[in-house]
């Protein structure tokens, strides 16, 4: 429930947001206490979820860091229809105004960005259903075994195909089955022979032998994934030896992983977009004279940069502003690219005025990687004093490595690729013809954390039910790590 005062400001903010062309599912605001906020935040914004200690762990951390004054959550918004937004009750009126304006930005982004298009907007209900289902399973099979299995699944949670919604990588799963039968039916094991010679050229033992060979071949082929599969969770769901309840748990974990994926995929854009709109709406409309200083203080807090890390709010906001300015002044296209006159470039203003349209287009079609790749320019990089850094073993500290544009951009893109997660896919489910699972890590110079990988493999083996392997590289040399369920061994791969 909002107070009358808040309702007034919310209506004002909403009116302005709509005027600017923001398009969102209705936002329902709720003022919550610090305790509730920490609770909601630890549950990812969903009041009803399945029972798991990890939410308790998050709650523990959040409530402690709030109690010690280390962090405070101003607001939280979830991608649903209608859109739910929680406001911290301890926020000042100014903060509530800012936060409400900010939330309209997020709400617009959720609704319009293409990477969110596949998400379930009734997720609130679905999360609650997941809770009910897991509770039922726990009642039946016991809390411990179910929780242990959830832990196993969560340990594989990042092995999903983040582009699954956009790309159809696989053939229709039903189709190949028919194909295989069709092929074997047509394929005759008999050698070509005239009718009367048939029983001499193709004696009955020979035919049987051949049929057995074909059958064996077919079985071997059938078990292989016909294409490599980045949706490891999905692959396990279809092919691992699981009980029905385990399948259900796994599918729940996978559904939720896919639901949250686009948020990680668009963190910079989403926060940048929301910050863009809260500054716009606040400074142009909602601020009273007395609030200016306080506003500046709160706003600069959100866009402050910490040493050694990029602030997505700041980076996103500045990039959106940069794009708007460039498209307003016509600083794009071939003429602009080919101009090498600094003075002309500095004064470049063709009064194209397309800035606003452009940023709306960008928020619809891009994700963080394409956003940075397309719009981060050398000038931007220089202006914002960006650099790459690395750990220097000799001096024992992090040092600035380079301010070279290409390096900064490359580094940034690399770290965003696959969310900074290693690229891992299923290659073979009948590895060495022993029903073992083979994953492949696409090595790009960054090694896996090996002790973690070993433990993950143990969990994977529990889900797969047979030994599992992963091909990766250490110090540039390919190795194969094998886990038989308890022991983990690694050997060099030739």
């Amino acid at each position: 429930m909002l107070t009358e005062e808040l309702v007034k400001w919310r209506n004002l903010a909403r009116e302005r947001a709509v005027e600017y062309g923001l398009d969102f599912y209705e936002v329902i605001y709720e003022v919550v206490s610090d305790h509730e906020m920490n609770e909601l935040a630890s549950l990812g914004g969903f009041p009803q979820r399945y029972p798991h200690w990890r939410f308790g762990m998050e709650y523990d951390r959040l409530s402690k860091s709030y109690a010690y004054g280390l962090s405070k959550i101003y607001e939280m918004v979830i991608n649903t229809d209608p859109c739910y937004a929680y406001l911290m009750s301890s926020n000042s009126l100014l903060e509530q105004k800012l936060v409400m304006a900010h939330v309209y930005g997020h709400a617009d982004f959720f609704k319009n960005n293409v990477y969110f298009s596949h998400t379930n907007r009734r997720m609130l209900d679905q999360m609650a259903n997941h809770g009910v289902r897991i509770r039922k399973i726990q009642e039946r099979y016991g809390v411990e075994p179910v929780e242990e299995f959830i832990d196993c699944c969560l340990s594989l949670e990042n092995l999903i195909d983040h582009h699954a919604a956009a790309i159809k990588r696989k053939r229709d799963p039903k189709a190949p089955e028919k194909d295989i039968y069709a092929a074997t039916a047509k394929e005759s094991p008999k050698l070509k022979a005239k009718n009367y010679m048939d029983k001499f050229i193709n004696p009955i033992e020979y035919v049987k032998e051949q049929e057995a060979k074909i059958e064996e071949q077919r079985l071997v082929e059938e078990r292989f994934p016909d294409l490599t599969d980045r949706d490891v969770l999905g692959y396990l769901l279809q092919n691992a030896q699981l009980n029905p309840w385990q399948q259900e748990v796994l599918s729940i974990i996978r559904d939720e992983a896919y639901y949250f994926a686009p948020q990680a995929q668009t963190k910079i854009m989403n926060e940048g977009w929301a910050s863009y709109w809260h500054t716009k709406i606040m400074t142009k409309h909602l601020l009273t004279d007395a609030e200016v200083i306080d506003y500046a203080c709160v706003h600069s807090g959100t866009v402050a940069t910490q040493p050694g890390s990029l602030n997505p709010y700041k980076l996103g906001l500045e990039l959106f502003r940069n794009i708007e300015e460039r498209w307003d002044k016509g600083q794009y296209g071939r003429d602009w690219e080919e101009c090498d006159d600094y003075i002309a470039k500095a004064r470049w203003d063709k009064k194209t005025g397309k800035g606003r349209d452009k940023i709306f287009e960008v928020r619809k079609l891009y994700n963080d990687i394409t956003f940075i790749d397309t719009f981060m320019t050398e000038d931007f990089c220089r202006e914002h004093k960006m650099f790459t850094f690395a750990f220097n073993d000799r001096s024992g500290q992090h040092e600035i490595q380079s301010r070279e544009f290409s390096q900064v951009k490359q580094q940034l893109l690399t770290s965003l690729t696959n969310f900074g997660q290693p690229l891992i896919e299923v290659v073979d489910s009948n590895f060495e013809n022993r029903g073992e699972l083979l994953l492949r890590h696409t090595f790009d110079g960054r090694e896996l954390k090996l002790d973690m990988a070993d433990l993950t493999l143990i969990n994977l083996a529990k889900v797969w039910g047979r030994p599992v392997n992963i091909a990766t590289a250490v110090e540039g040399k390919p190795i194969l790590i094998t886990c038989n369920g308890e022991e983990v061994k690694s050997k060099p791969l030739s």
Partner: protein, 378 residues
């Protein structure tokens, strides 16, 4: 748009998840207690008010993630190439672009009592039945109340002032222009005390350490760790506990706690010198009828001569063991020590349950050793 009345949602109750997490963390502490003891983290983090904060990494489920050879990250700010990134922690790891949150270390605050409880539970240590305790009770005085009468030395200034002020205001004597407060006899208030009987048990731990040349830093670290846990446990068993420290090489002397852990002497070892000092200390300060006495001797087991060892054994048999609750000998294995003293002790006191000897081969051995020392519940 329509307003919805009341709460929009009901919470599923994070309490359960939180409780479960805490259980796991507690369980983790128990399961990994071995590692904690040998990691030496506890003593470094003894806080101000007797709290020990165990640095507890969050339970992180294993995932396929990148290892340490990651290439750093991107950030923004001033500085030239090669300059250190200000404010970064001096350790490899983190700093990936676009990630808002860094790694978090979760600190679980555990009080010494809780710690002792966990230790007791993990090692299945029995509660100690103190000797000579039941009869001797002392009274505990605590200033907890306010009386109208009492000695001037216990006068409660503030309360007296308040009473006088109240009286003056209600009787109209008080003048805000000239706020002079004069208490009369009935205004005076004094601190009062309450008595509470409590069983008096006296306990003393006497740590003896061999600081001869063969005891290196590794060995001392092991002793420090073990002593910390012994302290923790015995302090949970006795209300007040005294601690005395003796170091010895060829000669013995009493030192304070700090010196005890820091000193490193060189030269030979005469264990008898330490035992002599121990016996002196006990006869002088700790009457066996009233005190629970716990000597702990840590050494690498090298004694100067078999003759000295004989003197030691005699002293233990005749003067030490009859008066102490238990004599504990911990032999920290070192490359230079022969470890002969352990064998001699076992040979001589195999039947005497008041003497517990234990070998501590390495950090991992601390766990078993503590169990041996404290497992008898004496």
């Amino acid at each position: 748009m329509s307003e919805i009345k009341g709460r929009l949602f009901t919470m599923s109750g994070i309490k359960r998840d939180h409780g479960r997490f805490k259980d796991i963390v507690r369980g983790r502490i128990r399961k990994n207690l071995k590692n904690f003891i040998s990691q030496g983290e506890m003593i470094a983090r003894q806080g101000k008010d007797g709290k020990v904060s165990i640095p507890m990494p969050q339970i992180r489920l294993p995932k396929f993630i990148f290892g340490d050879n990651k290439k750093g990250g991107v950030a923004q700010g001033e500085g030239n190439e090669g300059d250190p990134v200000k404010g970064m922690q001096e350790q490899p790891g983190q700093g990936e672009a676009g990630q808002g949150e860094g790694q978090h270390e979760l600190e679980v605050e555990v009080s010494l009592e809780e710690l002792a409880e966990m230790l007791g539970e993990e090692l299945e240590l029995p509660k100690i039945e103190p000797k000579g305790a039941k009869e001797v009770t002392t009274k505990n005085y605590k200033y907890s109340g306010i009386n109208k009468f009492g000695p001037q030395s216990l006068r409660h200034y503030k309360r007296t002032y308040k009473e006088a002020l109240k009286r003056q205001i209600s009787s109209g004597v008080y003048n805000p222009e000239k706020p002079v407060i004069i208490p009369i006899k009935s205004d005076f208030r004094f601190r009062g005390w309450a008595e509470s009987p409590r069983p008096q048990t006296n306990a003393v731990i006497i740590y003896i350490m061999d600081v001869s040349g063969s005891m290196g830093d590794v060995q001392k670290d092991i002793v420090r760790n073990e002593a910390f846990w012994i302290d923790t446990w015995l302090r949970s068993q006795y209300k007040d506990i005294e601690r005395r420290y003796i170091i010895h090489d060829a000669t013995a002397k009493e030192v304070d706690q700090d010196t005890f852990y820091r000193t490193r002497e060189s030269g030979g070892t005469l264990i008898s010198s330490a035992y002599k000092l121990l016996v002196d200390m006990v006869t002088k300060d700790y009457a066996a009828s009233e005190w629970n006495i716990y000597p702990f001797h840590f050494s690498d087991g090298d004694n100067w001569s078999t003759e000295d060892t004989k003197v030691c054994l005699d002293m233990l048999r005749e003067q030490v063991l009859p008066v102490v609750n238990q004599f504990s000998y911990g032999q920290v294995e070192s490359r230079y020590g022969s470890g002969q003293f352990f064998k001699d002790l076992i040979e001589a006191f195999n039947q005497n349950e008041k003497l517990v000897a234990s070998r501590i081969p390495d950090r991992e051995g601390i766990y078993d050793s503590i169990k041996q020392f404290l497992g008898a519940g004496r």
